[in-house]
Amino acid sequence: MSTTEKTTVSFILNDLPQTLAVNPLRRFSDVLREDLGLTGTKVGCDAGDCGACTILVDGEQRYACLTAVGQLEGHNARTVEGLAKNGDLTALQQAFLDEGAAQCGICTPGMLMAAQSLLDRTPNPTEPQVLDALGGVLCRCTGYTKIVEAVLKAGQTSSSEPTPSSGSAVTHSAGFCVAVQVIQKLLKLYSKQDKLLLQNQLRHQDPLLVHAW
């Protein structure tokens, strides 16, 4: 397929049906921000490293920057704009506000979505579950402490109100994105210490690990 050829992609976005005529290979983060004006989803690296663009697809965390819009065909996507209803913050958002979990706030949408995916599955999570759920999103301001506290607090206050998006997947995702998901999982190691170890090993095997931009 040509890189500019457009096709029709239909999916659910924040509970509303969407049909877009787009190049299906475009990053979903770009489509959200540029075509749909939903700039709540942030782009920090465009490479699946920082997690700022984390959204939900069928209730699961997904990096919007590594998601081709075509992959959404028939699926259910949720972004930060889909949390608050009529200006009323969700328990999770309120906890972020009250606990001071947002400092500069640029990671906040991604953090919220990562936490939401957990709370949808596990309304009253334990701290290790929270750490695991947030492991794919970087924050440079808070040291994470207040973010974890906010998610735990939201878990205690909102255990009876799962959001309507959860469990409403339309169909299973197409086979071609399996590789991407495997890579995403590999990258989402529990801590950077683990990654460091892995990286040191890789460096010894491949000393010319040089990146261009």
Partner: protein, 748 residues
């Protein structure tokens, strides 16, 4: 009180630098050098214009209408916005393409006829000093950009008379700021003025830089800051501003640019790597006698904040301790590496690594507990610092250390017990300490803040103190509300817009809460004074503001013992910003210049702090995990406890990264995949103890916290590794390979 800008941050409605641009904006992309040092020629831009009809303009150094040089010092504008003929670091911009996005992104170096002649680059401090290669900047022949020096009394004599002496050498790596918002913004020309929407820590400095670059008056440039997605010092220097400004000025159309992550990482500043040696001495009873320090800071190709680091380090390098004899020297050296600039602490976090390590060795040599040793030597009221400044107020270091004592004893014991039963995994507990001068070193750095009420009763704080996440938007409203006597909930605020606010200086040097905070208090009091006078009420009157949407109906009700006085706001003639009443406050912290021996009073006040960290080292893998950390900080007065805690927790995360994993290496870690920053899984359990020894000059006793939050973390972690394993890490970060190698060399 929750953040005044908190709601838009949790709903995704906040507008950051990449979130908005006018619809007809052109796109700008800079072409950057892949070489650390090279000559270049640009053959045929005309061909590009022909091949890509969507390209409207190709900017080179020849298009610059003013001074093609920027830098934070008025007398050092050494960094070209667009290099001419010669590049000095990998990532330096040489050409800017402006036009339709797709076209702009498609142009290759071959299209441009860009040819490079790579030259041998100066890498590292030793190469900078060797004199073997042509200097980085021809006018600085020895590559020594700046030097700092401090001499207090006689260190040689003191060392000769010391009971114990400890010494060592350390090196640290370049560290990336890692804010999650890459630089972005747009410029638009309106009449004979430019408006620039951008993420920044210093709108007024941006205004001056852009004006001199274009050759226009500063008043012709308006900086409208976006919400800032993190800064940490990295957004003090300009990035996209001059490029989009020049393009918009020439073309008369809005022009935007968004840096990619790798572009942000290669082209902007880093924390200075340093090679340092230090020596410390003490008496038999454990009193520090002498401290000597030498640090060579690799400042990269251009000055950025190198001279500031060279100035700050000698003042702080002997730590928050009383030392009667000090000799310290620092140099900022030019190399063909990324410019090193401002990063939370300006060289002090690096120097603290040497300081705390030596204190531990001395304590061990005289058989004293490391924390007791620190308590014994900590600066107290009435002491004189290394610069011979008399500390009269707000010196909470002893209280910080004392507050950690019970945990220290317990944690050390628990770690030692753990190690009895574990062969390969070892635990240890270390201590680090910090002090940090709030404000610019021996320089005037005033802030002016305004507050106004308009005819409708709209109450606005015109806050030039940039909020980069730390929360100045919120604490300035809190301070002003207290000073004025009206509730914080009735305030609106404007942040950093150079047309609407006054200059409140830079968000750097832990100065905003202290300096701009005091200016805000004065502004609130000034406005209150006018209201009291207008109402002819008594000083302790209670104010009420009736805010109404429709014009002319705002009222101030001033209630005192004689009854209610009503001020109808619409009856007063509007002045600045359409406000009918305006309060203004200016504060410039009192300092003195440093003499040729670095003696004087460089800061009006200092923040103090100490951390203890428990680490676990896997001796088979070399990995280090921080298990728990207790942090005590003297902040003078806590204005917003949640935000102060947040600053400390965030500082700990950055200090942990610096200690264990963060290392910026050109061509290797120029992205967030290979450059590792702590995730939630790397964080220890954190306890925070806030010490409040009020600073009389600060707003309600407050002083800064931004930087001393980070300084003790790395020393505490490194000391923890030493306690756990007996090895001293001499090159930071203590990555698994370095720890493993050190263990092997030590035969452990």
């Amino acid at each position: 009180m929750v953040k005044v800008d908190g709601k838009q941050k949790v709903t995704g409605e906040e507008i950051y630098s990449a979130d908005y641009t006018p619809e007809d904006s052109l796109w700008l992309r800079a072409i950057r050098s892949p070489h650390p040092r090279a000559k270049f020629t640009l053959a045929q831009p005309e061909k590009v214009l022909k091949k890509y009809p969507g390209i409207i303009k190709i900017l080179t150094a020849d298009d610059v209408t003013g001074n093609n040089g920027f830098g934070i010092y008025p007398h050092i504008k050494d960094q070209p916005v667009l290099a001419k003929d010669h590049v000095r670091f990998r990532g330096e911009a040489v050409v800017a393409l402006i036009g339709e996005r797709e076209n702009v992104e498609s142009v290759s170096e071959e299209d441009l006829g860009l040819t490079w002649e790579p030259l041998e680059a100066i890498r590292g401090c030793d190469a900078a000093l060797s004199g073997k290669l042509e200097p980085v900047q021809s006018e600085i022949v020895d590559n020594i950009l700046a030097e700092g020096f401090l001499k207090k009394n006689d260190v040689e004599k003191a060392f000769a008379e010391s009971f114990a002496v400890a010494e060592g050498v350390w090196t640290t790596s370049a560290v990336e700021h890692g804010y999650l918002e890459p630089e972005a913004g747009y410029a638009t020309k309106i009449g004979q003025r430019l408006e620039i929407f951008v993420c920044t820590q210093s709108p007024y400095m941006d205004q001056t830089e852009v004006a001199q670059f274009l050759g226009i008056e500063p008043g012709q440039v308006r900086i409208i800051p976006s919400a800032v997605g993190g800064g940490f010092g990295g957004k003090l220097d300009i990035s996209v501003q001059p490029l989009v400004a020049l393009a918009a000025w020439i073309l008369g159309r809005p022009v935007r640019s968004i840096y990619t992550r790798p572009e942000s990482m290669v082209s902007t500043t880093k924390r200075h790597p340093v090679q340092m040696s230090a020596r410390a001495g003490c008496s038999k009873d454990g009193k520090l006698t002498a401290y000597e320090y030498h640090g060579d800071f690799n400042t990269g190709a251009y000055a950025s904040w190198g001279p500031t680091v060279a100035d700050r380090v000698p003042v702080h390098c002997s730590g928050p301790y009383f030392v009667p004899n000090v000799l310290s020297q620092s140099r900022a050296l030019l190399t063909n590496e990324s410019p090193s600039g401002a990063f939370r602490g300006f060289g002090t976090p690096q120097a603290a690594i040497a300081n705390d390590a030596l204190l531990d060795v001395l304590a061990e040599k005289i058989g004293m507990d490391a924390l007791e040793f620190r308590i014994k030597n900590a600066l107290r009221k009435g002491d004189r610092t290394a610069t011979n400044q008399l500390l009269e107020n707000s010196v909470g270091q002893v209280e910080c250390l004392e507050s950690l004592k019970s945990r220290w004893v317990k944690w050390r014991k628990q770690a030692e017990d753990f190690n009895q039963n574990n062969k390969n995994v070892k635990r240890g507990v270390g201590c680090g300490s910090a002090w940090y001068g709030c404000g610019n070193t021996s320089l005037s750095n005033p802030s002016t803040i305004r507050v106004g009420i308009n005819g409708e009763g709209k109450l606005t704080l015109y806050n030039g103190a940039m909020d980069i996440g730390q929360g100045t938007n919120t604490i300035m409203v809190q301070i002003c509300a207290d000073a004025l006597g009206l509730p914080a909930s009735q305030f609106e605020y404007v942040m950093g817009d150079t047309d609407l606010t006054a200059d409140a200086g830079k968000t750097s040097a832990s100065r905003q809460a202290f300096v701009s905070g005091k200016a805000t208090q004065l502004a609130g009091e000034h406005l209150r004074g006018q209201i009291i006078q207008l109402a002819e009420a008594s000083e302790n009157a209670t104010l009420y503001l009736e805010q109404n949407g429709s014009v002319g109906s705002g009222k101030l009700i001033v209630e005192d013992e004689s009854g209610e006085h009503v001020i109808v706001l619409a009856d007063i003639l509007p002045q600045t910003n359409g406000d009918v009443l305006t309060g203004e406050g200016t504060f410039d912290p009192p300092t003195t210049t440093l003499d040729e021996n670095g003696q004087g009073s460089p800061y009006a006040t200092y923040g103090f702090g100490a951390h203890i960290a428990e680490v676990e080292v896997d001796t088979l893998l070399g990995t280090t995990k921080v298990l728990r950390l207790a942090a005590a900080h003297d902040v003078g007065k806590t204005i917003n406890p949640t935000q102060v805690e947040g600053q400390i927790q965030g500082g700990i995360a950055q200090g942990l990264g610096m200690a264990l994993m963060e290392e910026y290496v050109q061509c290797v870690s120029e992205n967030l995949h290979d450059y590792l920053m702590p995730t939630v899984g790397d964080m220890p359990e954190i306890e925070i103890i806030l010490i409040e020894d009020p600073e009389p000059l600060g707003p309600y006793g407050a002083k800064g916290i931004g930087e001393h939050a980070l300084i003790p973390t790395a020393p505490a972690i490194l000391a923890g590794i030493k306690h756990a394993t007996g090895i001293s890490i001499r090159h930071v970060p203590a990555t698994p390979d370095r720890v493993f190698t050190a263990l092997q060399e030590a035969g452990k």
